[in-house]
Symmetry: C2
Subunit: 347 residues, 2 copies
């Protein structure tokens, strides 16, 4: 079965996904019986190309590598912005990867609405629309018999979201606890190994984990965004960023680290969700966890989530939390779920 794809936003994740199709297309056809054809790419900076007959992923990647834009790719249709690509392209599925805005969710939310209105499935790793507008978008999709895949919004391609929503929710989720920010976990791991906070942050920046302005990571905003997303997806409770009781790791000292170690514990930045009186309690804060806790041994930039359930007890998923290929994979796994659950989507 063939699915035609339009990609809005062609940065790291979009290019990572295109590389996966370039390098693994024949294997995917053999293993899953699916062929994914990119018919359009629209990017504010790199330009916009569309060809209903299909674009070669190699051509797209090479063009961006060589010239930084898509001007050299030979196509019949050119210049569509994101909303136009969502509406006009010949795609079955729109992949929304434009930049993340956790305050307005735009322009991504507009792109997703336009795609659903045009009868197209949507896959996105963009946190903005999912944190702010998931209930509305999911209802729009449901009314139209369409799917909306959001695996990449939490822990990149580690299948945290699909596992939680489809394989663990029926077990009765009583609590979700996660190490949801790799930068913070890397810093805390290095501090345990003897670094100061400042040196560890500096290293994280040199390794490309932390931004030049690290506040989004170390003050817990990024983790809080993921907590908001999980509340929406798993508990159906549309909380916002302001509903998360948030403390970052920048106040932790080597003395704090040493004190925990002496007590047989370890500091982790933990995002927590617990149902409470029809709503949820949501927090992100440094917590001392005993070494026997399933999250205690998760070191470095790795992420993890523990789902505490009524019927199964604790189930923990550990895996990568970021990366261009890893997040590109989240797009693929959502596409394959659409193939598995909505088999009449393609042709």
């Amino acid at each position: 079965m063939e699915y035609k794809l339009a990609i809005i936003g062609f940065g790291n994740v979009g290019q990572g996904f295109a590389e996966i199709l370039r390098d693994h297309g024949p294997r995917l056809l053999e293993q899953f019986g699916v062929r994914y054809t990119i018919v359009g790419v629209s990017d504010t900076l790199k330009g916009s190309v569309h060809d209903a007959a299909g674009l070669d992923p190699s051509d797209l990647i090479d063009a961006v590598r060589l010239s930084g834009n898509l001007d050299g790719v030979d196509v019949p249709d050119r210049g569509w912005d994101g909303a136009e690509m969502a509406r006009l392209s010949s795609a079955d599925i729109v992949i929304e990867l434009s930049y993340t805005d956790l305050e307005t969710g735009e322009p991504a939310t507009g792109h997703i609405r336009a795609a659903l209105e045009a009868g197209k499935h949507v896959v996105t790793s963009n946190k903005g629309p999912v944190a702010l507008h998931y209930a509305e978008l999911a209802a729009m999709a449901r009314e139209r018999g369409l799917e909306i895949g959001v695996e990449g919004t939490v822990m990149s391609g580690t299948p945290t979201v699909l596992t939680g929503m489809h394989l663990l929710r029926a077990a009765g989720i009583k609590r979700v606890q996660g190490i949801l920010n790799g930068t913070c976990n890397y810093i805390l791991t290095r501090m345990e190994e003897g670094s100061t906070y400042e040196d560890a942050l500096d290293e994280a920046q040199k390794k490309g984990y932390a931004e030049a302005d690290p506040a989004g990571d170390v003050e817990g905003f990024d983790a809080a965004g993921k907590v908001v997303i999980l509340a929406n997806l798993l508990m159906g409770v549309p909380i916002g960023m302001d509903d998360v009781d948030r403390t970052g790791i920048s106040g932790l000292t080597p003395a704090d680290i040493a004190e925990a170690r002496e007590a047989g514990e370890r500091w982790k930045l933990i995002g927590t969700l617990e149902p409470a009186d029809g709503g949820v309690l949501a927090s992100v804060r440094p917590e001392r966890v005993p070494l026997s806790h399933p999250l205690a041994s998760v070191g470095g930039a790795t992420n993890a989530v523990t789902y505490s359930t009524e019927l199964l007890g604790d189930v923990t998923l550990v895996g990568p939390g970021a990366g261009r290929i890893e997040t590109g994979y989240s797009i693929l796994v959502d596409l394959l779920e659409i193939h598995r659950t909505a088999p009449r989507a393609g042709r």
Copy 2:
């Protein structure tokens, strides 16, 4: 949507599943829009009952608790054996939970064939048919547009199988390593805490983890069965028990444990699968893993699997490996997957 279920084998897992339906039926209807109605139960020792109008799970559980059998349950049809229940019952889905035979796979395999021939989906946690005949049974199901759910054959309801098959296989699985037997892991954990092998085994037996004859666990047969199942499910390679290079834990001494500890390592009974030249290399043996390994911190009766993948790196799932409710949950999660992926199955 309503699904009618026939259960073959009404031991711990069948009763655990019936308890889940009794206690969580209204929630499942609200959360997933599904109603599961047991129409038949057939058990060699407890008797066989069928009522197309549906049986109350409470009545089934209470009858077995009070009298050890189903004789007191008032039904129109009685006395069908497993194959008859699979063929004649009014069920949409047959749940095969008869006893496990890893040498012949019978009688379970016959029940599953009969159910598929009668146009019924199948869900099972029975290792025999899956270890020995999965390729044949999956092909039978596929030809008929039916599903066969086998989540409970590995790590009870921890969604190891569904995650591996549907959410990670596309990432290119290069290696699977697992702690697949809770009894062995409990014994090794206690030995690390200072017990001798004999004392730890004795404790495991008192806690109900290990059988009176512990060979199936401690010599690695149970773990090898799960390795065989994972090879069939994830790599499409139909290996048998004899293809697993198997060593148990009964030869480990306190001196071995101490030596590993001094080297910053820990003994675990690890089942391993690696693709090799069109086939797979499969083993179960005690291995010393560094404390930084994702499986090193998995203690007690808990199980875990690490999938090493080309696109995502390592993804680890940690959760319960046994238990009546936990394995009963595996049946539920397979049923919900049938609902999600084959929406025209029920009515």
